[in-house]
Each structure stands twice: as C-alpha cells, then as structure tokens.
C-alpha cells in the first residue's frame, strides 16, 4: 500500500529510475506508479531517454583508442616538458648563436613558467588547424581588421611577422580558446609547397624566457615569452629551419625594438 503520509516525490521517481532509491521506498514508489499513470509515463520516458543515450554513445568506449591518447606517449612528452623547463634547454640553442635574444639579457636558467602550457596549446592548435582543408583560418590575411581584431581580443598589440624570406606567406588568422579559456591568436603561414607554420600568441604575465624548442612527433614548436605575451612558432619538425623562422619572428615581435621604453 502507498503510505499516504509520505507521498512519492519527483526526486524519488528519478532515484527509482537511477537505482538510487533507498530499499525501503521501492514498494511505495511502485505502488504509486501503478495508480498514477502520468508519473508512470514520465518514468518510462526517462528510462527510454537513458537507453537512447547509451545506444548512441556507448559504442565510443569500445572503439580503438587513437595513438595521440596513448598514455605512455603523453607521459613521455610530459617528462620532456619538465626537462625542457630546466636550465639545460638553453644548450639546445647554442647552435643558434649568441646573437639576438641572448643579447637582450634573457639568460639561461630563467624560469620558463609560460613555456610548457603555451607551447602545448600552440602545438594542439597547430596540429588541429594545419590539417584543415576548408577552414584553416578564420579571417584571411587580406582583411585589414585581422591584426587589430586579434590584438584587441588577446589584449596586446600583436603583429604578424613577415616571413617571406623563408618562402612563407601569411594566410590569415583565427581566435582560439587558450589556457583557461583566455583568448589566444594564431597566425598561419604557408609555403608554395603547402608547408604550414603557425604563430600562436597568448597573453601571459609570466617572466621573459629564452626561446625553447620542443618536438612532438612530426611537428615542433619554438616558444618564448616577453613578459606580456607568450609566443610559439610551430611547424614541421625541421629543427634548424624552425629555429631560424622563430628567431626572425622573435626579432620582429620584440617590443624593445619597436617601442621607446627599452
């Protein structure tokens, strides 16, 4: 019999469907449903919804896990990130010569707080969008509002460096969700042979860093921070070429050479 003193609540009906009903209320709810067809219909519809959802998505858990979700691989990359943030990384740049950034007093061993996250976000965005055939960019390079718009959204005066000396032509750019949802900008460049490079920019108050190189499979990124924005140049993992391109971008983006506040 239904206990008239404690009518069945909606919460209990949900709990009944979800197997969360305390054992001592089971009979009361079933008796209630037998005499309340509207509630019984609702309960049936909720179970049917649940079944539709499970049928629609259940199979995803049984499909092969793609390689980029391989935990060992991700862990290996993580170790690489950790190592890269250490002072040792600068050794990788000695080949680049003591010109440019070293001259600005950005020293080996400076904490690279900005680096791993910006680089990781940049590489993710790079991998996602360079593969795009139809919509690699959001706003084409010809649009005069491209740079002002991205600067405004990112919150810092940005520029799209001229990489023509590397045979790279600016295609355009797009706005992206960066770290913790902060707006980030991406400029994409393409060579005559279809090679694509991206420059990723995200506001970051982390201290200045030197350039760091990180390789993630077939692509790599060189990243740095200037105290206001974190940058990353990503492209095919040809170390020498990528470093040269990043160095050129770095020099063109260096605020000290474009502003008077040295």
């Amino acid at each position: 019999m239904v206990d008239r003193d404690t009518p069945v609540t909606d919460d209990e009906l949900h709990a009944y469907v979800d197997g969360e009903l305390p054992a001592d209320r089971g009979t009361a709810v079933e008796a209630w449903l037998a005499t309340h067809p509207d509630d019984a219909a609702r309960v049936v519809s909720w179970s049917a919804q649940a079944e539709l959802i499970r049928v629609r998505y259940g199979g995803v858990a049984r499909t092969a896990i793609p390689p980029h979700l391989d935990l060992d691989r991700l862990a290996r990359n993580e170790r690489k990130w950790t190592w890269l943030t250490g002072a040792a990384v600068i050794a990788a740049f000695l080949a680049g010569g003591a010109t440019g950034w070293f001259g600005h007093g950005v020293l080996a061993g400076a904490p690279a707080v900005v680096a791993p996250t910006v680089a990781a976000e940049a590489l993710d965005a790079h991998k996602l969008y360079v593969a795009e055939v139809r919509h690699p960019i959001e706003v084409p390079a010809e649009a005069s509002h491209l740079v002002p718009w991205l600067s405004r959204r990112v919150g810092s005066a940005l520029r799209a460096p001229d990489l023509a000396s590397f045979g790279l032509k600016l295609m355009g750019g797009r706005l992206l969700p960066g770290q913790s949802g902060k707006p980030a900008a991406m400029f994409m460049y393409e060579s005559a042979s279809g090679e694509r490079y991206t420059l990723y920019c995200e506001r970051s108050s982390a201290p200045e860093t030197a350039l760091h190189y990180n390789v993630a499979g077939p692509v790599a990124a060189v990243y740095w921070g200037d105290g206001e924005v974190g940058f990353a140049v990503s492209g095919p993992a040809d170390r020498e070429r990528l470093i040269k391109i990043a160095q050129s971008a770095y020099e063109q983006l260096d605020r000290r050479t474009t502003r008077s506040n040295s």
Binding site: I53, V60, L71, E138, P177, G181
Partner: protein, 163 residues
C-alpha cells in the same frame, strides 16, 4: 606509481564516451580527453587517493566548460550542418534525435544527465564532480529530463538552418 597510471589508462574509454556525448564531436572530444590526461599526469602528485574516475570526470568537465566559455565569446566558425560527414557512425534517426535533444540542454544539466545515465555515477559522485549539493544535481537532472522529453515529444525549439 604504476597503480595511478593504470587507473587513468583504464578510464580512457569511458572518458572518450563521456566527452563524445558532451561535445557531440569526435575530434573535439578526443582533444578534450587528451587535455584531461595531460593535466592528470601533470597533477599526479596532487592526487591523494579517492576515486580517480570521478577526478578525471571533474577535470574533463571543467576543461569543457572553459572551452564553451571561450566559444561563446568568439564568432561562430561554421554554420550548423545537419549532414556532418565526419560522423562515420551513421547514426539512425533515434541517435540523431537524442543528440539534438542533448544539444538543447544547458551545459550543467547535460553534465548531470550524462554522468548519471551514461557513466553510471551516483548522485553523490556527480555532486562532487560539479561541486554542488546533491539537491542541485537532482534539480539539474529533473530539468534535463523534462527538456529532453519535451524535445523528443516534438516541442522542438526552432533550429537555425542555413540552406
């Protein structure tokens, strides 16, 4: 330790399923899972026991919320396309309908419904993932179910169609 890594690994299929239902886009979903795994590995030292699965669902849910927040502030990239060629699964009409129904839900309600129905979490676990009292989970669940029912019953909000 081995235990941590193994537990995270064992959760990947379920995380992919949850992310897929949450985003309704296979690529976005796997990116979200990857991001979740990276953050989990990075925070291994912060994890002091407890249910790893719930913890992973929490990370993924928060990352997706961040993603949506950014999306809402940026111009729409692509028109709504009913014939999503990327969806190789070729779902039957019922699958399409439930997918559209889920799309009409407020994110917090969708999370509550999917964690309970698809992932089999208890109300208490969902409350922990969403960092709200159980009563709030219950009302989100109730609203989600009412909305999905209304949608499936034909009270469909007008879809913006670009033709």
């Amino acid at each position: 330790m081995g235990g941590f890594r193994q537990d995270v690994e064992a959760a990947i299929p379920a995380l992919r399923r949850y992310a897929r239902a949450l985003t309704r886009d296979g690529d976005v979903a796997d990116d979200l899972v990857q991001d979740t795994l990276v953050r989990a590995l990075r925070s291994e030292h912060l994890f002091h026991g407890g249910d790893i699965r719930s913890w992973l669902y929490t990370i993924l849910t928060n990352l997706n919320r961040n993603r949506l927040r950014s999306l809402s502030r940026r111009p729409a990239l692509m028109p709504m396309d009913d014939n999503d060629a990327a969806d190789a699964a070729g779902p039957e009409a019922g699958g399409r309908d439930i997918e559209r129904a889920l799309a009409t839900l407020v994110e917090d309600q969708r999370v509550a419904l999917l964690l309970v129905v698809l992932e089999g979490l208890s109300y208490r676990e969902v409350a922990e993932v969403q960092a709200v009292p159980i009563g709030t989970v219950m009302s989100r669940l109730a609203r989600a179910r009412a909305q999905v029912k209304a949608f499936l019953d034909g009270e469909r909000p007008p879809l913006r169609r670009v033709k």
